[in-house]
Subunit: 493 residues, 2 copies
């Protein structure tokens, strides 16, 4: 294995260092010289594009349309919704001027004090305010509803401690913002989009997720209910991977968006918003990858199959090229994304290590003996198993293998996740075990006090009240008070 | 025709008012409450998405990959390239603080003076500086080259006078940034991307364009050569629709991007950049549309065919629904995007006007008599011609009609453009005629002085030295000095 590639820190040594190194070494992203802002490199961006394309199709299948709203938000808009401003106005990038001028020395530029804005503008941390200020003009009657808009864009939150993909000052995301004539319809839409996220995470990312509803403390600023999908990383920490909010009439009231309802009465519009971000890239990387590098689900891998020749002469390479050409075109015709890497400036060993690091699901190697025997070596990235197979029917085999890998990495992640869900009824026991990671299902009395105590004692938080989980009443493990249901508790990213 | 739709200002009354109204009435875009920033509405955004998808495929076919670079640029980066800072640092949004705090009255938020940035950050007006600062770390050897990156993103330039799509403070665009080992390769790439833009404009947008190279005065700030495509609007003004820049080693030197070349010597990398923006939406609208509203080329129309029923009873509507269902599914199977609008809360006349306004290329109307006769009324938006046709073979006919419309609107726009290209050798004659619009081909002595005089006298500018244009030497019409070639002069947006 090539030297510069293999010295990836092992997960067992330091999971967080392994992650930080892997993101950079696998050409996914890197820190820029702008504090907290990342550069998403072509290989990483290609995965994000596949995510976008898939999610976008899923959104549109539910009637959602894309639109675009301004990057900048007048400062006063943020103050309109009381909780929202608390949650978002604090750490944000503020535009105060609109011009630079040459400095006195003539060798640089300085802010022109004459070009001060009357009202400061905020780079959007999320767009509820600017969008509801726009919806005001779009909504008069129930006939104008529902409005189902989504935008793909960049947002900015001035985070103090950043990590590539997981927490960055600028990140890319989609934010859906819908307006409805009834409370029921809005609530249903918020739940529907959570299901879309869960389906995307499990089917395409091969990441098993718990669906549920957040506690009041953990809700989105301005929401009446926040639904969430929570994934479990290999270090036992939870990663909130997508959220969908039922916003009630809060933004309708804050921006005075009223409509004539079917009973001919004025009513405030009902709202939802929902988003997933480049954070999903972090979830994808951390769920499947191993000490050799990325493991990508075939459904989102930019290169699904790589083919590497091993040859002793230019002549032999020519023969391999000719043989591989047929395989490549057949695979492409089957919709498989394939790369034939016959570049002669890198040794096969370097290529093997590099494609392992980059998580290419299937590697085919063809050498001189393979040429003679009409065979090829097939390696699957998820298990690193190799086998030599005949070239007859190879394309169908590879296609089926990609499906198998997709299923296998999901099954593996799910087995890990399921083995790390613990019912726990004793607080001392909980405190001792929660630091080792995992999802803890514990009875909760529903108060913010016990929630705060758990967080203070253990850094763990209530991730959600899980759906699809048989619930029996019990006793809160902290307060000893009656509890209606169990909640999912974990330390988290 | 529905009353609220038909009172669109005629082009002959005021072309600019017609444009402003049309963009809003056709649900393309609207002004936001943030100065100079627009909201792109779902119908307009759907066209932009089609443009994006098509261009993106064309870029990728030339080996380009997408990536993402930070929104914010440190102020000092702009000063690195002397011309670049002159061109872009002046009117830009400046981030000076990263936090707001609750005001003393407790009813709003103010900028927290304690959260002042050490160095101000600029919202990118274009990304050469931040990208070349990144490339520095990606490029060591000629083996690392070429780098062919593109990003789809938002940018911001603090324009004083804004118009929807044509000139907005924030706009959406793509910016390609490539790095090469040789001057020749970079120059070739800059020209190649101009050809991609020209092909896209003509083949998909049905907008004929003149390709050429800018005069020194009109070059991109920091470029050695700027290539451009120039379109002619119906009011006789030119619209610069896309540019591609050969940047030489300017950014390589400014950001110290050196590589070991094939001769084992250190050399600065060669650069190009190239971009098109939501301004293309303006070109699309202004080139084809008429006093009834938008005329969209089928290749970019979100809805290519709309079907409207006319019925006397619910029962009859049911029969039409059943008949239309077969047509819809056949058209969809042929890849045609079709909408059946049987909503019962709007009259057919309103629907007709609305789809005309929105530029849907083909409208089918089915009424009771059509049902009896197995016919349908077909209207094409470009000529507004109607005919009644049998439903037998209708889908094939419609598919062919869409192709015909695409060709026809291009031919029409090209005929208009060609009829408004004037060779002119007399400056008095030029001054008298240029204000009425059109492309003027005039001999130019190559000096900035005559260029400035033309602009001062007439507001017209040299759009480019056109390619594919037989050039003969002559005499500059202003200075009387020898001129090697003719340039394209016009008033412009």
């Amino acid at each position: 294995m090539a030297k510069e590639l293999k010295n990836l820190t092992k997960r067992s040594e330091s999971y967080s260092q392994w992650y930080n190194e892997l993101v950079v070494k696998a050409d996914m992203a890197e820190q820029s010289d702008v504090r907290g802002c990342m550069v998403i490199k072509p290989y990483g961006y290609a995965i994000w594009e596949k995510m976008q394309r898939t999610l976008d199709d899923m959104f549109k299948a539910t009637g959602v349309q894309n639109a675009y709203f301004p990057l900048l938000i007048p400062k006063s808009f943020l103050s309109r919704e009381a909780e929202h401003v608390e949650g978002f106005a604090k750490e944000c990038a503020v535009v105060t001027h609109y011009r630079l001028k040459t400095n006195e020395e003539g060798n640089g530029v300085v802010v022109d004090p004459a070009a001060k804005l009357e009202e400061e503008l905020i780079i959007r941390p999320t767009s509820e305010t600017i969008i509801w200020n726009t919806y005001k003009n779009w909504i008069q009657s129930y006939r104008d509803l529902p409005i189902l808009c989504n935008q793909w864009c960049n947002v900015m939150r001035w985070e103090m401690r950043t990590r590539l993909f997981l927490r960055t000052a600028e990140f890319l995301w989609q934010e859906g913002h819908t307006a409805h004539a009834t409370k029921e319809e809005a609530e249903e839409r918020a739940k529907q989009m959570l299901k879309v996220y869960a389906e995307f995470a499990e089917k395409y990312m091969a990441v098993p997720v718990m669906q549920g509803v957040k506690s009041e403390t953990e809700r989105f600023a301005g929401a009446l209910d926040t639904y969430t999908i929570e994934a479990l990383m290999q270090d036992g920490k939870a990663l909130q991977s997508g959220t969908s909010h039922f916003l009630g009439q809060n933004f309708g009231k804050a921006f005075n968006v009223q409509f004539i309802n079917q009973e001919n009465k004025l009513e405030y519009a009902w709202a939802t918003s929902w988003g997933v971000s480049t954070r999903l890239m972090g979830a994808l990387i951390m769920t499947h990858s191993d000490d050799n590098g990325l493991v990508l689900p075939p459904a989102l891998a930019p290169i699904q199959v790589v083919i590497v020749p091993i040859y002793k002469s230019k002549e032999q390479l020519g023969e391999i090229d000719a043989k591989v050409e047929g395989i490549v075109s057949k695979l492409r015709a089957m919709g498989v994304s394939v790369k034939y890497d016959n570049a002669d400036n890198k040794r096969p060993g370097f290529k093997f290590a590099d494609y392992e690091l980059k998580g290419v699901p299937v590697r085919l190697v063809m050498g001189g003996r393979d040429l003679e025997n009409n065979t090829v070596e097939v390696m699957r990235r998820d298990t690193l198993e190799k086998e030599t197979r005949t070239c007859d029917g190879l394309e169908e085999y590879v296609k089926a293998l990609l499906d198998e890998i997709q299923e296998n990495i999901f099954a593996k992640a799910k087995a890990y996740r399921d083995a790390h869900i613990f019912e726990c009824d004793d607080y001392e026991d909980f405190k001792a075990r929660v630091k080792d990671g995992g999802f803890f299902l514990c009875h909760w009395d529903g108060t913010a006090e016990t929630e705060a105590k758990i967080k203070e004692d253990t850094q763990a938080t209530i991730r959600c009240v899980p759906f699809d989980c048989e619930q029996t009443p019990g006793v809160d493990m902290v307060s000893g008070k009656p509890a209606k249901y169990r909640v999912l508790i974990a330390r988290s990213y």
